[in-house]
Symmetry: C2
Subunit: 454 residues, 2 copies
């Protein structure tokens, strides 16, 4: 087995290669960075070519950031085909950074830059694993395809349309998605469940005009007050969601999965202090933190627009309010049913003199990956060999829509090998990627392909 | 008795005079209009000089808009002294206007311009009434002082400091405040009660950092959700305020006052459709609209700041929320007690894992004017003679802090003779002042001074 740890020169070269990738400010949400995003797509294509892949190309769509595709199908039909997925676009770099977000800097065994962990570092290790094998053997033990997108952070629809198109370039037996994290440093981790999401707005209207609270206060309805009444009628103080039927279809985790979670290294006091940074945890009675964040649905309010929110005082009775809300969904729930349930519940709890309506923006189905297949088993084995610890199976409370799309349109499972760490500051200042995970990730991916091809 | 109606030439001159006053964009909230506000103060001073008043002057304070003062004390000690109050500053002119806000235009018996009714038209009629008497008699039947401020719309503290100073220029027997409205067109109205106000923010904090709703949703507290829980715990769906002890000290209107309200021309369906512009009225069970808006205290939410309120979707669990709230207070309540009651109630209903605190910005005491004195009685008589209908006594749900300040610091009652109309669009586009009320207001004020001096 190759080990990056043993090859100091190669480590330096890898860091330089990743830095070049990280220097490109491929912020997909910012129109001013459109040219940078394209430059980054070209950079990915060149890395894929350099790794020995064939048919490397940009897949274009009007007004959207390009997909990058490449393949190597020389292992033949007797061998499985893996579809590597990742994204080359990054979040904006707001906030205070110790070193500039697009000038990568190595400190204390980490590389700091926007996109370091999310997701350039993980795309980079996929490509470098393939390159390593091609350099050593002149071939790969399995067939591979790469599909690297540039709109993950912006929720773009380019990849959804392409995945749904039935294009022959998507034919594969499993996807390898590197966009998650290890449960703890040095602990090899497979993510086997994702929550889905329904995001939208509750529009509340109490009249045609804002009113003066002196003249009309006491007799006129108030849209923000009504919005507060609606959301508190949808979820009680204990975190129980009151949308009728909402959680009835939830499939609870198996006893085995629950037992595995109990073995995870987890300190609730530390989680509260270092991650949640609050004075107490909340949530549904009768469920622990893992179940609350991985296996139970949520209803969250993200913001309320309406009324007066500037500095100082204005005595307006607002006639409209928009409440940004989302529901996270778990196995057994669907976007369609949950959307309908929330829409009906909003109508049902709407106060007198007020009209309220839920308007969905977008949704993603929840995913639960079966673990009794060779793609998951060999992945767990490969990571265990490289990192020297038993691979743990976790879920994520977040949503990765591509996993549901691969399942629905291609009928393939996703192997979510994650090499980020919980404190990598994704979407925040000082994002980092742990270099040991870069090197170990390459080794684990090399080993995974070897095991699958044997 | 002089009647403006009989003097067509004078009416034209009056309109031109008012137009010149209205053309000055004396927007006190906008720093760019600071010079205009001062120019307007000078204009008021010149009008007071032209009316024959003496000792006309600007009263200055560092960084604040000037007060305008003038006096005529020639009636001697045997006659009462009236303190005329009004304000020359205006609201900003946002929104869509039929004709520009600072280019006054006469249509259908109204003059349209920002400040037409609030409050330049009413200041103008006070000055012109005095001018008319001085021109006719060379003297006034009573002593008068004018105190016209330039910070009413901005809640400035200049006048409060001056009124509290004990300055000899404030010595008077009653104040005449023209900044309210008639209950209905042609119906002479004295406002004898004002609600007070406490305005502030409830600051809600659920942690040190915003969190991702995928990773932490279900286990972490949400500041906006907590804010909704707090406000719905302070006021129920029927409009009952749940702050302990809050309404215990409220002095209900007398049977006579309530009976007088029952005689007011009021159509609840029309009020709902044309003023409130909603589908239903709300409010405390057991009270009618007058009592709800004039004689009962309120708790209103004006806005919530926190979380994500832009276009589109962001899955943040907000760690902070600021809720803009106010309480309107009625006779029997005080700013100090209500502030303390709300602060304690916020603490008491604050959910687990969250810190919440009420921070008051400013307050104004409620006012209830005794009607059994000569200043009120003669005012009612003067308006009844001019407008040909019995003067009605109403209250206002709004707050005019100066009335409480005159009461507290000068020990004098305020006679609130209002000549605005309910549809004058104060603080809104297309503000207007009814010309019949301008002319009738001058006549009524002339008659009032005659009656008081006789």
């Amino acid at each position: 087995m190759l080990t990056c740890e043993a090859m100091a020169e190669t480590q330096e070269q890898l860091i330089e290669g990743l830095k070049a990738f990280l220097r490109i400010p491929s912020v997909s949400t910012a129109p001013k960075h459109t040219a940078d995003v394209r430059r980054c797509a070209e950079h990915v294509r060149e890395m894929l070519v350099a790794a020995g892949l064939q048919n490397a190309q940009l897949i274009e769509a009007e007004g959207q950031h390009p997909l990058v595709y490449a393949e190597w199908l020389g292992a033949g039909e007797g061998k499985p085909t893996l579809l590597f997925y990742g994204h080359y676009d990054v979040q904006p770099a707001d906030g205070e950074w110790v070193t500039p977000a697009f000038e990568p800097s190595v400190r204390d065994g980490n590389i700091y830059a926007r996109g370091a962990a999310d997701d350039k570092g993980q795309v980079f290790l996929q490509i470098k694993a393939v390159e390593r094998l091609m350099e050593r053997d002149g071939k790969l033990p399995v067939n591979v395809r790469f599909l690297i997108e540039g709109e993950e952070e912006v929720g773009g629809e380019h990849i959804e349309a392409f995945v749904a198109s039935g294009d022959a370039r998507l034919k594969a037996d499993a996807a390898v998605v590197c966009d998650t994290e290890m449960f703890a440093p040095g602990l090899p981790t497979l993510c086997v469940g994702l929550r889905g999401i329904v995001y939208g707005e509750i529009l509340v209207k109490s009249g045609d005009t804002d009113l003066h609270s002196g003249m009309y206060g006491g007799a006129a309805p108030n849209a923000i007050m009504a919005a507060c009444e609606i959301v508190t009628a949808l979820k009680d103080r204990d975190g129980r969601i009151l949308i009728p039927g909402f959680a009835d279809s939830v499939i609870p985790p198996s006893a085995a999965e629950r037992a595995a979670w109990d073995r995870l290294p987890f300190n609730e006091a530390e989680y509260l202090e270092k991650e949640v940074k609050s004075t107490a945890l909340t949530g549904e009675p009768g469920y622990d933190v893992f179940e609350r964040t991985w296996a139970r649905p949520t209803l969250e309010v993200h913001g309320i627009r309406g009324g007066f929110t500037g500095e100082g005082a204005k005595t307006v009775i607002p006639c409209e309010a928009l409440v940004k809300v989302s529901m996270r969904l778990v196995a057994g729930q669907t976007v369609e049913v949950a959307t309908r349930q929330l829409a009906e519940a909003v109508k049902a709890v709407c106060p007198k003199a007020v009209q309220a309506e839920f308007r969905p923006f977008h949704g993603a189905e929840p995913s639960l990956v079966r673990t009794d297949n060779v793609f998951i088993e060999k992945s767990a084995q490969a990571m265990q060999e490289v990192f020297g610890k038993e691979t743990v199976y976790i879920r994520s409370g977040g949503s990765i829509p591509i996993v549901g799309l691969f399942e629905r349109h291609l009928g393939i499972p996703s192997v979510m090998m994650g090499f980020g760490l919980p404190d990598d500051n994704l979407h925040a200042p000082n994002e980092k990627f742990h270099l040991a995970n870069l090197f170990g990730g390459i080794d684990a991916m090399v080993r995974y392909l070897e095991l699958l091809g044997s």
